[in-house]
Symmetry: C2
Subunit: 612 residues, 2 copies
């Protein structure tokens, strides 16, 4: 039996383009005499479409193209993902009933699912966590069972497939979450295996976003499925990038066939590929995967995601405010690699608070990256703004004559972001990124309409420690030379917006990075999320060090001499996280997601829950 | 039987404060010898908490306070909403199992629900549309039925209540959506009524946000429930405001008892109130409600919402950039009413493109509102930025020497928003609003970090036509005099950022408001949402005029002489809506929700789906 695994590049809502990819792949599969070609979940319409699922005219176009795909199945059967529509029934929001479904086409037409009397196999388990909103848009097999008063088992059915040699086999078809059934009382694949005609092959159509470490989980989950059932498992995942507004996800593919304890991968991560695999042939023994280092994974996902955004949004040029610090240095590096050095312009915007150390680091970076560089100061504009504040005072506004430092710091940041960088970028038909890291975004350590501004925050799902780690990875393993200047890696992290942040005196950010990174991870990324109460309890129980890990625990012991000192710092940053941080995140640029908990749609939050 | 309806003010995550309100209300109910006091859904923890539900320590505090509430129930029974937790079971995300639940406390302890063997009555129908995310956080009775292999009916049970006179009655308890069952195959209240001990009283605990026109729907739905079942229905809804990040919702209460064809309201909309009602007494016949006009409803919701935000976020002062146009005039008016004139500062920021007409309107507005006023020009700063762009060119950046008009328009807008207004506000410890209306937000007709910036967009759920209507409503019905200057109401809407937008020559916005408002509503607010294809079809079928309504249809017939002209305009704005508009909404300030479809969490969207 010859299976064509089509690791398709799926673009959200790009029906014609997705259809073209599919048609081309089907022709290839026919030429290779494949019995069946398998595409990812939602390979026709795309997956993260938000509430665009509510547009009947879009749904009708999906149906039209589904029929066109069916017409292509005269030789090779086609299994693909799209929206299954039952125009005679309603979703629970009152709109037309839609399913996240797999369609099987053979002999020029769509095969009816005998279990439910509809022309598709619906997803049974709908994820509603992290960035997923499946229940918002789709009905499912469990609800159908309840509505019809039948058991889920009776609605479960295998799909018949006639091979080119005339043999008839049966497929157990699931979609993504259907295989991730640990936390569900219903087990879709187990129900398929209870059917009298035992499935010959299990298939899983996925549209499963990349997350650090997720591929390892997939390997273990689908190997287990193949092993426990004795059936080969065809796993087909999309590649590309789709966004849910604030959060941009990449799709890494990692498709292949799990058989006889072996994983036969198709193509490379993040790259569209189709490959015909004869599963009758014995699988060649092969290590399950070559494990990538954490920074190799991050590097691949970031550059792929950034490249996709560039293409998707038709971007050509980028202006980057380079301060000499590590965040803007890494951001410039990433952009130079993805957009090309000739399309990246580095601008340094000194005030009297910027040290020669960081200014020369900024210039060296641009030089090393081979990017054009300009220096545009902000002192004249600050003086002008200062005068206009006095003018407002003279006109009767109760503006204090001594501008508090924080007010002046924010004026500087906005002058850089919203006046110079935005003006230069706009003049060049370019965009400019926000270089904030996850630690800063957590507590809102940035100025709205200043360094908070940008078309994208490529680093906002990386803790400050990871920013350093990734910068070192680039120098050591990607460039093999010091492209990111050593001084950017060694200078104390600082906004350089006041004399109190003078790096030449070792002064800088109020965050103690390895410690606060670890603390913030406990609030945001840990499975059972921590808050002030649980962490104070951990302090009291002496379990806090274990939670933080050795490096952060050591720092903690140096930073806090007492429980009170620990609590003061804890509550201060917690208030920033849930208050001003949350408020600023509402207006933050889109974020490239890497971890299990990226800000935005993957970390839904109300503003102002400081009292929790 | 004496029922205390507690239309509680519920603050998100403010456990102690919510508990205090409840304790005080219970004491009042006891003094009034009520048999039972009923609080809203999630009256203890609040409802819109985002993923804060994932914090075990928060959940434990909810449980502790639930026990403390139980201890208060020695005389009057207490029915309230909180999170029901089953620590021994898991939600489908793998975390501890949580229910959106009603708790009944009597004789000092929590009453067990015999139907499921847990100490609460869970919500059966979980809404997953609009701003709701119930399935993300909560398990429900339907899933429990499936897991246990039992019918929903067998898990449905009534709650026993002993009255102070010794009689025993039964309650049918539902939570919010349980009564809105039209689109669900399961009907919770119908199942309660099938029980052998027919319920004596139906109760619905709600945390149901305000939407224009929703109260009328509630009246008809709950009257019907009371009428068809013959049971009185106690409807208790929260008041206050809770946000889901980008979108801020108000809760209007509108609690009361539906009995014998009569609605007995409790208190006033948006105002916390408790009231004891003896349902044994015959209900006095009363009209179901006095209908408010559309602008009365909007006015009440906007001022309440703005007031809540002010209190919740501890705001005192506001700076408003007043252009002389209608949006900033209405925004200043709203803020002056809610914050007090003495706390509102109006700043006009003219360039050479601003006409004396609008400048004098801005000044007159501040004068009429009794707000301090300042005029701070932007020409000097524009010249400085212009020079710095030349400097960048001299340093080798390929900046064109003729700045295109759009670039220069955006530089002006950002200079006003991010430099002057933000600087003045910051100096005054004030905030500044974004005055964009829904028509502008739809297509991104605003400058990021310029007029797009602000702490809140109070008008972003009002179409431009509604902005005019509400301004007139204020002048005519609220002030009874021309506070908002006539010239702001009559001048052509214009950004005044170039000579092409000269209002003295009648030039202004590219949007033709009554027409485009109606068009955009079809994309966003109509039940089955329209797109270019469906509207072109409507043009071909001659059904478009009916969809648009008479005023917009008349304009359309004047604007477009051909299908091609209509299509050109349609596709241009559709591209703006799904492309740049969506991109800018990601970074937009929070929006006060009024309609059935406010931008943000109520209108989830991916960026860049222009091709749909």
């Amino acid at each position: 039996m010859r299976i064509c695994v089509a690791q398709a590049r799926v673009r959200a809502a790009a029906l014609d383009e997705n259809f073209s990819f599919m048609r081309k792949a089907v022709i290839e599969a026919q030429q290779a005499q494949a019995d069946i070609i398998v595409f990812p979940e939602m390979s026709l319409p795309g997956y993260f479409l938000g509430d665009a699922w509510e547009r009947p005219s879009f749904l009708r176009r999906c149906e039209d193209l589904t029929q066109q795909i069916a017409a292509l199945s005269t030789q090779t059967a086609i299994l693909f993902g799209s929206v299954g529509i039952d125009w005679n029934a309603r979703n629970e929001d009152g709109r037309v009933r839609k399913f996240n479904a797999a369609f099987l086409a053979q002999n020029g037409s769509i095969v009816e699912n005998p279990g439910i009397g509809l022309p598709f196999w619906p997803k049974t388990l709908l994820p509603n966590y992290r960035e997923f909103d499946d229940s918002r848009h789709f009905f499912d097999l469990r609800k159908l069972a309840l509505e019809r008063g039948e058991s889920l088992e009776s609605l479960t059915s295998l799909a018949p497939l006639k091979l080119t040699d005339g043999r008839q086999i049966t497929l157990g078809i699931g979609l993504c979450e259907d295989a991730w059934d640990d936390d569900y009382s219903s087990k879709p694949y187990a129900l398929m295996l209870k059917k009298t005609s035992h499935p010959d092959l299990l298939v899983n159509l996925s549209c499963s976003p990349f997350t650090l470490g997720k591929h390892q989980k997939r390997l273990s989950l689908f190997s287990r499925l193949a092993k426990t059932t004795g059936c080969p498992v065809v796993y087909v995942n999309a590649v590309g990038s789709q966004n849910v507004g604030k959060t941009i996800f990449t799709f890494d593919g990692q498709s292949g066939i799990y058989k006889d304890d072996v994983f036969i991968p198709v193509g490379n991560p993040f790259v569209a590929a189709t490959q015909v695999i004869d599963i009758s042939a014995p699988a060649v023994s092969k290590a399950l995967t070559t494990e990538q280092s954490r920074f190799e994974e991050i590097h691949a996902a970031l550059e792929f995601g950034l490249g996709f955004v560039r293409e998707e949004w038709n971007l050509e040029k980028v202006v980057i405010g380079v301060s000499g610090g590590i965040d803007s240095a890494l951001s410039a590096t990433l952009h130079a690699r993805v957009f090309g050095s000739e399309n990246v312009y580095c601008v340094n915007m000194p005030s009297k608070f910027n040290s020669p150390l960081t200014i020369s680091a900024a210039k060296a970076l641009a030089n090393n990256l081979n990017c054009k560089y300009a220096s545009l100061g902000i002192e004249d504009s600050l003086a002008l703004t200062h005068n206009q504040l006095a003018e407002a005072r003279n006109q009767g506004l109760p503006i204090p004559s001594n501008t508090p430092s924080l007010v002046f710091e924010n004026i500087q940041a906005r002058d850089r972001g919203a006046r110079i960088i935005a003006g230069v970028a706009s003049s060049l038909s370019a965009v400019f990124p926000c270089n904030a890291n996850k630690s800063e975004v957590t507590v809102g350590y940035s100025t709205l309409y200043g360094d908070h501004a940008g078309y994208l925050s490529p680093l906002a799902d990386l803790w400050k420690s990871d920013v350093y780690g990734l910068a070192q990875h680039y120098n050591q393993n990607v460039f093999g030379t010091e492209i990111i200047p050593k001084s950017s890696l060694t200078v104390v992290p600082s906004a350089e917006l006041s004399a109190a942040q003078d790096v030449t005196q070792g002064k800088g950010d109020p965050l103690v990075y390895p410690y606060h990174d670890a603390l913030f991870r406990l609030w945001i990324e840990s499975w059972n999320r921590h808050d002030c109460e649980s962490l104070l309890q951990a302090w009291d129980n002496n379990t806090l060090s274990a939670l933080l890990g050795p490096e952060a625990a050591l720092l903690m012991s140096q930073m806090f001499q007492s429980r009170d000192a620990f609590e003061l710092d804890l509550r201060k940053w917690w208030k920033a996280y849930t208050g001003m941080g949350a408020f600023k995140r509402v207006q933050a640029p889109p974020i490239l997601a890497l971890t299990r908990r990226a800000f935005g749609f993957d970390h839904r939050e109300a503003v102002g829950l400081a009292r929790m």
